[in-house]
Symmetry: C2
């Protein structure tokens, strides 16, 4: 038997509820295989911060490193100053564990209504860079709070960092049917970063001659996501543009209740992290209203990453079948989770 | 009689075609008033750059400064390296002439089909900051072209710059029926710039107590633009987020063929500039296929800015009437322009 040593960071708000269901589906998917799951729950997020002032200590990080993967619910709470948990916990995990591929599929499942496309017409994946760009935290302000304040934010982009994520995106495109890669940036304004991205895509394309490429400015990309989302196959883009586009992509494929993501360390020097794209949604937390589907689809990505391709496919198929029959029926978080786990077990 | 001393920068591609129609409508709108228009055409853009290597000289800028307003078509051509004309001409104009309010209305006119809303349901305006943020050009790269390249882009935000645009946005919100202002930023990640924006909105709100406010992260804003665009009244945001959101806003209100914009210097220390949101569209340039409506609506903003409120309203009404009857009828650039000018003259 093999064991999956899973770090569980349920986090804040609805994170706790959706992770519970994600774990149930994970157990169901592995039933009948020789794999087991052992979980370590990490108390990280608003509660821990209020109690101790800590976001993510070196000891936490070391403990997490010892695991095969991380399942994360959601981070963030209105009682904590904006940025404290995001920068000190969520982004710290992504950066410290070198999650340079932030993978976000956008697929319109049958049964899911989109104002902009028919089911099957949207099926692309965003490869969002996860360890550079304006997310690096290299900002600062002077004369803060005075009329002479200057607040800067620095986007840092390295050939090393851009090349590795671009290569990963090409490999994903090459493995897909359409084999098409779209670089999204804003190289007519952010000329230095943008030209590095562009040159890198051109150079790496030589290694993947059967992948076709094109380029869109980020503003134009939001137009095509509205008027012609089926034009996309694989998108590669920087950390901030990826953040923006993947929320829009979620909105056109059934909403963030369905949007999964994987923060991947492709070199496997540290555990990868799987999380729904949505936040902690404090307005509906604790009421059983959250849709755990995004977390369940993130669990499918986790299984795939760890080599359980068949089990991953079972989870995705269960979600697909559930969505076909879902209609406008309202179920609680636990009901959806139980239904999905049951389908997986069948 | 009063004279409008207009600088005309037709620019590249379809810019030339749409500006011609915009000028015809401007003439029509002023017929019967005591106002006249005198135009100075500036040869700026790809052709000039190829011929002389110049984008915008000090002499050009000085000459433009002497005018009451600028009508701009579009800048950019695939034969010119990306960024050269954008940074050296378009953004140089916005920055040098202190166009700190980049105003972009998003209105779903009757007769225009949107997959996301019924006519009348979308009516908001984006106040995009125009002279700061990641657009300042404070980037650079080292070891360019080597595996050790580092390319940075700096977003600069000042209390001075943020406060003036936020105040302008509040004043616009206060003058509207719903009196609602939404700040869009990403203060959970871009904590320094984001918190400056947030503090500024809170502070200036005291001067406009009847304006309600809320806040959205830029990623969430793209979701609401998809699922509930009618929630927006006035959006205030930084230069880059404003660029992204206004293209998405155009996409949900009939496309960039209809999206107008005004680069305003509210202190009137230099001429303001009026331009369609769309680009030079080299793929359809010179074929009479471009829709001049966005330029005509920009002319309406120009008239309003110069104090010709009744004439501005006439132009907007002509566009509204044309859109109601437009259907799927295909007309050339000149035909649409002529039809609009005729309606204005009626
Ligand atoms: C919570 C926030 C820091 C995060 C991000 O910006 O990456 C979120 O929006 C996401 O997309 O995972
Ligand atoms: C052409 C480009 C520099 C410009 C911008 O980014 O501001 C355009 O996209 C716009 O929105 O006016």
């Amino acid at each position: 038997t093999s064991n999956i040593n899973l770090a569980v960071v349920a986090g804040d708000g609805i994170g706790i509820e959706v992770v519970e269901q994600g774990l149930a589906v994970l157990e169901a998917a592995l039933k009948g295989t020789d794999a087991t799951v052992s979980q370590t729950a990490f108390n990280l997020g608003a509660q821990r911060w209020h109690a101790t002032g800590e976001t993510l200590t070196d000891a936490d990080l070391d403990a997490i490193r010892g695991h095969d993967a991380i399942l994360l619910g959601a981070i963030g709470d209105p009682t904590v100053p904006s940025g404290v948990l995001e920068r000190g916990l969520l982004l710290k995990l992504r950066f410290a564990l070198d999650h340079y591929v932030n993978l976000r599929p956008a697929k319109l499942f049958a049964g899911v209504r989109s104002p902009l496309a028919e089911p099957g017409e949207i099926d692309f994946v965003v490869v969002r860079e996860g360890t550079e760009g304006p997310y690096v935290g290299n900002g600062g302000s002077i004369r803060t709070g005075t009329p002479h304040e200057v607040a800067n934010e620095v986007s840092v982009n390295t050939a090393f960092g851009v090349e590795r994520v671009v290569r990963d995106a090409f490999a994903r495109a090459a493995a897909r049917q359409r084999k098409h890669l779209t670089l999204v940036h804003k190289h007519n304004v952010l000329v230095h970063a943008g030209h590095l991205w562009r040159r890198t895509v051109e150079a790496v394309n030589a290694e993947f001659p059967d992948v076709t490429t094109d380029y869109l400015h980020v503003d134009a990309a939001t137009i095509f996501l509205t008027t012609n989302p089926s034009r996309f196959d694989v998108i590669v883009t920087d950390n901030l543009f990826g953040d923006i586009l993947t929320d829009q992509a979620a909105a056109i494929t059934g909403g963030i209740g369905l949007a999964a993501s994987a923060n991947i360390n492709p070199d496997r020097t540290a555990p990868s992290m799987f999380e729904p794209v949505h936040g902690s949604a404090p307005d509906i937390a604790g009421q059983g209203k959250a849709d755990p589907t995004a977390t369940v689809l993130s669990v499918a990505m986790l299984l795939d990453h760890l080599g359980y391709a068949a089990e991953s496919a079972k989870v995705t198929a269960a979600v697909a079948a559930d969505l076909v029959e879902r209609g406008t029926r309202v179920r609680s978080t636990a009901e959806i989770g139980t239904d999905l786990a049951q389908r997986v077990a069948e």
